[in-house]
Symmetry: C2
DNA sequence: GTCATAAGTTGATATATATCATATGGAAAA
DNA sequence: TTTTCCATATGATATATATCAACTTATGAC
């Protein structure tokens, strides 16, 4: 009977959370998680968590794409990073506070897997190997975010834009051709520049045959040159 | 006899590492650490670790002040953050890689306490409470660094400068009057602007009676106004 | 001490980027 | 359908900031 529950609730063959995280848990602990886990779907533009919300559940992005951003009244949104499953941004700052420091919003239809926070915390405080693995992943993802942020800070406008376009092509979609999951305004909020200038730079990239654009559709035509701009531009 | 070793090697009444971290360790584990720990002193401007160095030792800043920065040939230095003891930046990224991602350099004469990395890792993988505490601290300090970085990114030049001056006054020295531990160039590398403009903005702050400067000595004269600039400027 | 090098300073100018204005197309709401 | 709103787009202009040049003042090496 319990076996059946496991089969029913944890039939998530694509779930990296299962494959990677839960390597350290016992059969019965896995079962606990499988029994209480909940899946929740979000449409594009829906907030998954908001800054200031109290942590109640540990959540893991199973499918989709999200932006991690800072929303402040009186000033423009700032996008910290864009993340897909396996990037583990979902656990960023989970152990630093009782409340979310950032807002996480779906950019594409997304599926999130929730587990009661106290259960995860109790595993982490009892099972050192699990905790260590979690810490390593947490550390890696924050490191990547921080390095990316410093890169973007250093570059000029065109460099920032090239960097972001290449992130979509190389990291997120793994394709030279993709539909932008963000508006021009969001690219601007990510780069930390004005929307108009992002639009102008996109037009210039097109003029210079670096990319092809039609609406949301982007194709990278000259990746070498774009890479160069993303490093030194 | 062993008691004596403990007394000799761990008589560090000001060591937060001892008071906070090692709350979770057994007497004999503490003793292990006390026996192998080494203290090392660094002068201002000396590198404590360099990007690319292999992790061999866990280190904790016991005394002094350091900058965490990215050194790249061909482009200017970027200062990620400035940290003092208790800020725990020393453990940033320790679990994300075998190699340091950043360079850490002393800004003031500093004392660092070293413990063999494998010992800490073995504690973290065996003692869950220790690991959890470590993870919480790690998470808190990276959160603070990331929020600070996003703040600095959002602000204009004078806002950035005000933010940095207030960090020295409020967080690092806890005094309205202090000696700058950095050059104008380093302030510029921290803010991500040119040295000349930092100098000009400092001169303007002086003209507007917000600060008093003579060489490295700074006094905050109008903290309210400066705080306002650091938020909206 | 004096020499050399780096830090600090200031002004003039160039450049990158923001802002403002205005227009168009499309998507959602009435 | 019409209306409204927002994303996209482009030009003109304003502003922030970088860069270049020249100079002074500290600081450490010999």
């Amino acid at each position: 009977m319990e076996k059946e529950v496991l089969t029913l609730n944890c039939q998530c063959e694509n779930c990296q959370l299962r494959a990677l995280f839960f390597a350290h848990l016992q059969q019965d602990e896995m079962l606990d998680i499988c029994n209480i886990r909940k899946e929740k779907s979000f449409e594009s533009n829906e907030d998954i968590v908001r800054r200031g919300d109290k942590f109640r559940e540990f959540f893991y992005l199973k499918e989709g794409l999200v932006k991690l951003h800072i929303v402040k009244s009186g000033s423009e949104d700032q996008i910290i990073t864009i993340a897909k499953p396996l990037d583990f941004i979902s656990i960023l700052s989970i152990f630093s506070s009782d409340h979310y420091q950032y807002t996480v919003t779906a950019l594409l239809p997304s599926v999130v897997c929730n587990v009661d926070m106290s259960l995860i915390k109790s595993f982490a405080t009892k099972n050192a190997a699990f905790g260590f693995d979690l810490m390593t992943r947490l550390s890696k993802s924050t490191d990547i975010v921080l390095l990316e942020t410093m890169d973007l800070k250093r570059l000029q406008l065109k460099g920032k834009l090239a960097y972001i376009l290449l992130k979509f092509a190389n990291h997120i979609f793994k394709s030279e051709r993709f539909d932008l999951p963000v508006t021009r305004k969001e690219i601007a909020e990510y780069a930390g520049v004005s929307t108009e200038n992002i639009i102008r730079a996109l037009a210039e990239f097109r003029k210079d045959q670096l990319i092809r654009i039609s609406g949301k559709e982007i194709e990278i035509l000259n990746k070498n040159r774009l890479t160069q701009i993303s490093k030194f531009g």
